[in-house]
Subunit: 462 residues, 3 copies
């Protein structure tokens, strides 16, 4: 029970012909380099050659809201998990490792422990201290430094996510260090574009500062954003990323946009202003993408910081963001009518509302030249989530209108496990098509290569 | 074609390794006692030692709206089914037994006929009379009395659902009878809490009467409810149950609540009053649960008595309640912000909108210490409904944030079949995880015991 | 890779016992005549004995918006696809045939090429010209005339879809030609009932003309519609068909309906008028169906002509209709309360929002005598779409409350492939019930015959 065994056929259908086909497809793609076009790894990890991941609690638990939310849901105080002694945190995690049975976190953690760190036992109360010591020792060694693991993981390119106001100092440091890992920034302007961001005004001041454009009105705001995009692009950025409560889009006149912007500067904007301004700025961002070629990503539908008590005590990203029903058809109409037919644009859509896969997103992606569908996101980046995505998206959108995989993670060491899961799930799905004679093995092999790496590279123009 | 054969591996995957694992898991749990924490069995059946189920039509057809709705949908008048001669009703049922092919009713009825009553033929036009006679004879014997079947079914505890104004006389009679079956009441205050209940005012008068609190305003209303909860608890109640059109929650000031309550007493409340009052009372019920420890159940989303013709002629619960799209994320925010972090509360959520499983309910249950997810409800208490529930809930919520099974039935004799179906479905789901190497057999065995009985006992504090 | 092989067990589960059962069930139904109760084939094809399908591009590509949308989504201009040289269009299609991998179009096209036209290679860049020549030759021969294929396809009846203002001249020509194919019209009044139809007023003028009723007000409008229904019925029509943005229904007084109608005649109706008038007219159409026995079909939920650029340049039905979230429970309440209990009415519901299958449509169809559920529609007329439909609808609605299959296609030569796919999917679903011991093989055989042809014939009264 306590031993970790990573079966070579894990996650495949148990049916023998399907499994055999899946295994064959998977093997051909298993060692393809990892392309990670969207994620949240801290570039600081790669900026200094001597950077390390810290303690096992710092690597596996404290920053991973998938892990802390599950422990919290069973009554373990977040204070203990986030602010306690690291060995104690690790012990609590090990005692409760059974909570992750059947969850994607359980899969990623098990694979990471075993494949990356050579741990051969499932964590539990009695081996917790021993594992803590063994992992601590490894984490202190240079063999387990971020750069060394980047190379060992066979990563071809890793995109981070960076505020519009970021100077990209870490990315500059990486470039200047001579290390040849490819860490690229992604332009994420939410904190200056969404007027209801806490500290929006300070963010605007910071935008003025880093862009050298004095942002005093809507026109200078747009100019500053264009400056930042140009800078990000010069630093290697391939894409932008946009979070919004909904995918609402609608263009304002410059005058109307400026009026809202001025109200916001006077801290007098109302909630409706924020909605309309975000909806307008998504149109503007699409326009800029048409012009500068940065791929546009849209991640709508999370009600962030849902648990006020947790947000006040511990801040954002603590496992208390809850999805909302999301509508794409009507909301995206203005943007798609203006830019959807333009092949210079690539807009990659994500969702936390799986009901939109077959009903809205696949029909849209199967029509518009500018649209691609991103992989299953967040809660749905799981075996079942992937299976549902393949089932509901592919028939209508076609594989070639999807954007491959991205891991979207801040947990760097989980990246190989996440891509491996996607490749296994893809192989298994394709094998299911082969054994039912929907496609043949040659076609499946071509699609496998696309799903493992080709689609992502092309969609993100990497 | 006419013979009933209950295959020992029924409902398992036909794939041999999966089936073998499912069988092994199922066998270990198949004879675990039944814990039934939520249902609608009439306690009167157990109050008198000589109680009986009546005719085959009274047992299998007349009170079972799953059965009558299907016959009605094919054009058989409800008058015939509900008010006709019992032998004739039984004959119509048998002639139309093919309508239940592939439905959960078909499974339950078949199993009940065979396992409980020893019937070995599927009902049809030619054996109808013979079956009627055989069943009638059995139903008249003491061997088939409710108490004897309770014991034969190996039930550990059976919770009924009782109005807040119920004196629990039947439950008292059971206790005083010296019979040692454990039949517990559940506090369901909908008829006094939802202002738009027909006869609400009479219900309030009745509440005054049974509580000995003269309900004349909001404060005395709350006092009366607290009195009833204390009384139910003294009679063994473990839980409360709340139906609402939506899961809307929002706290009112006492003054605002009282103003609405006064309008209702004057029969002057408007629909919006009813919505706001129910939303407020759900908050109050959570507060009381924090204080008295009764587990709170919420069953929203059914538009009851949809078919006006049927409702006027035959009353409620005739198979014409239709689900509505339901929103939990925003609706539950006030309640969860106030009580969701409190480990003294257990709130068990149910849904008739499966789109909320993965999108809203699993993320919420995977975060809040006070939340658990109830099993698939009503139309979804079926093989496919369970498979979808496992598929969409477990990865994100984790098994340990679910509440096991409850049968929610008024059909006492179907209880073993329903729990058996859940146990088979659970075993089959776990076997699927084992053969795909997501969990191992030891882990599956532990989870199987939880799903069969452990989770329900802990969630309901039984 | 390039060879087309139509495996005899294609689309069945690869599990051997399931596949064997599916094969046995399928074989018994594979050669049952085709009943096509709803579709969009042009009756002109059958009106003249010498009619032909034109070039391969005219048959397979230009009129098939499933095909053109996929090519367009990958950046191929619609101008090229719709207005180019036919051989060039065909070449582009062949070069991009890989885009259809895993899609229903891929399945239909492959089967059609192989089974109907004897093509044994998958289209690609190098065989494109050769295939074009071979297909052109066949299409020019009388063996491949529409009437000869109708006979070869073993079609028992084929229903077209015809505007309320259509004179049915083509249908008259078919009747008068002495050919004994059964091509029936279907009454579709959307263009006169939905006030926001482009050219609505001209349509009303045309209605006056063809009905010989001078339509000047609501009363004469209703009289004209009744005249047309009578005429369609005299020409063999079995059904009506209604598209609407939503399934909203609500009865207006005659006065209110007339006031809206008068505003529309003066081109002064507002969007809300159009919504209310359509909602009222659906009630009126149900009333007329009760009286004249025409089966009523409702196809709501598509936002048509979504892409304005495409609509302006190329008109309707170019692959740019996008589904919307759809609500049935509340929207249909008025209609069902008035007519749902009337066994003289058959109302067949369709959806583009699969979330309504289990939540709304199956509970409604499992209760109302007048309701049946149509098969998976449009984007969901696919292997996965059918599997989801079986999974979510059948347990609650029961098989006998569904309406079998309809192909809903304008692509006449794809009809055998589409019905074959449904029969295979049905057989596979039933086989899954058999091997899990939910039904036995005799029951499955009866259900198979129903799903292949019986349910459709009975639901459409053919």
């Amino acid at each position: 029970m306590t031993k970790i065994t990573l079966d070579p056929d894990r996650y495949f259908s148990p049916h023998s012909a399907t499994r055999d086909a899946a295994r064959e497809l998977y093997r051909a793609a298993a060692h393809t380099p990892i392309v990670s076009p969207h994620g949240h790894v801290d570039p600081r990890l790669f900026a200094e050659p001597g950077a390390s991941f810290g303690s096992p609690a710092e690597l596996f638990i404290i920053p991973d809201h998938y892990v802390t939310r599950m422990l919290y849901s069973q009554g373990i105080p977040l204070e203990t998990l986030l602010e306690g002694d690291h060995r104690q945190i690790w012990n609590i995690f090990c005692e409760n490792f059974h909570l992750f049975r059947g969850t994607p976190s359980g899969i990623w953690l098990t694979e990471e422990l075993c494949s990356v760190f050579g741990v051969e036992e499932k964590p539990n109360a009695s081996n917790a201290d021993r594992l803590f010591d063994a992992l601590s020792e490894k984490l202190a060694s240079t063999e387990y430094s971020p750069r060394r693991l980047y190379e060992r993981f066979n990563i071809e390119v890793l995109c981070t996510t960076d505020a519009a106001t970021d100077t990209l100092a870490q990315h500059q440091a990486i470039r200047q260090s001579g290390w040849d890992g490819r860490i690229l920034p992604t332009f994420r302007p939410d904190a200056v574009v969404n007027l209801d961001t806490p500290d929006w005004k300070e963010n605007i001041d910071r935008l003025s500062e880093v862009s050298d454009v004095n942002v005093v009105d809507y026109v200078s705001f747009i100019r500053a954003l264009e400056q930042r995009r140009t800078y990000f692009k010069s630093m290697g950025a391939a894409a932008t990323d946009h979070a919004a409560l909904t995918p609402f889009t609608a263009e304002l006149t410059s005058e109307a946009a400026n009026a809202i912007f001025q109200r916001a500067l006077k801290e007098d904007a109302n909630p409706d202003d924020a909605v309309r301004f975000t909806g307008h700025m998504l149109m503007e961002m699409a326009r800029m993408s048409v012009e500068d070629g940065l791929v546009m990503q849209l991640h709508p539908g999370a009600l962030r910081n849902y648990n006020e008590v947790i947000f006040r005590k511990f801040g954002a990203d603590k496992g208390a963001d809850i999805p909302l029903q999301t509508e794409y058809t009507r909301n995206l109409l203005p943007l798609l009518n203006k830019y959807g037919n333009d092949t210079r644009l690539t807009l990659i859509l994500f969702t936390l509302d799986e009901t939109t896969y077959a009903r809205e997103l696949a029909p849209l992606a199967g029509h518009y030249p500018a649209l691609k569908l991103g992989p299953p996101w967040w809660f749905f980046d799981s075996l079942n989530g992937m299976a549902r995505y393949f089932d509901r998206v592919m028939e209508t959108a076609g594989v070639y209108n999807t954007a491959g995989f991205n891991d979207d993670t801040r947990a760097f060491c989980s990246i190989p496990a996440r891509h491996d899961l996607w490749r296994r799930a893809s192989a298994n799905w394709l094998a299911g098509l082969v054994v039912r004679h929907i496609i043949d093995m040659d076609e499946a092999s071509e699609l496998m290569a696309e799903m493992a790496i080709g689609l992502a590279k092309r969609a993100y123009r990497l």
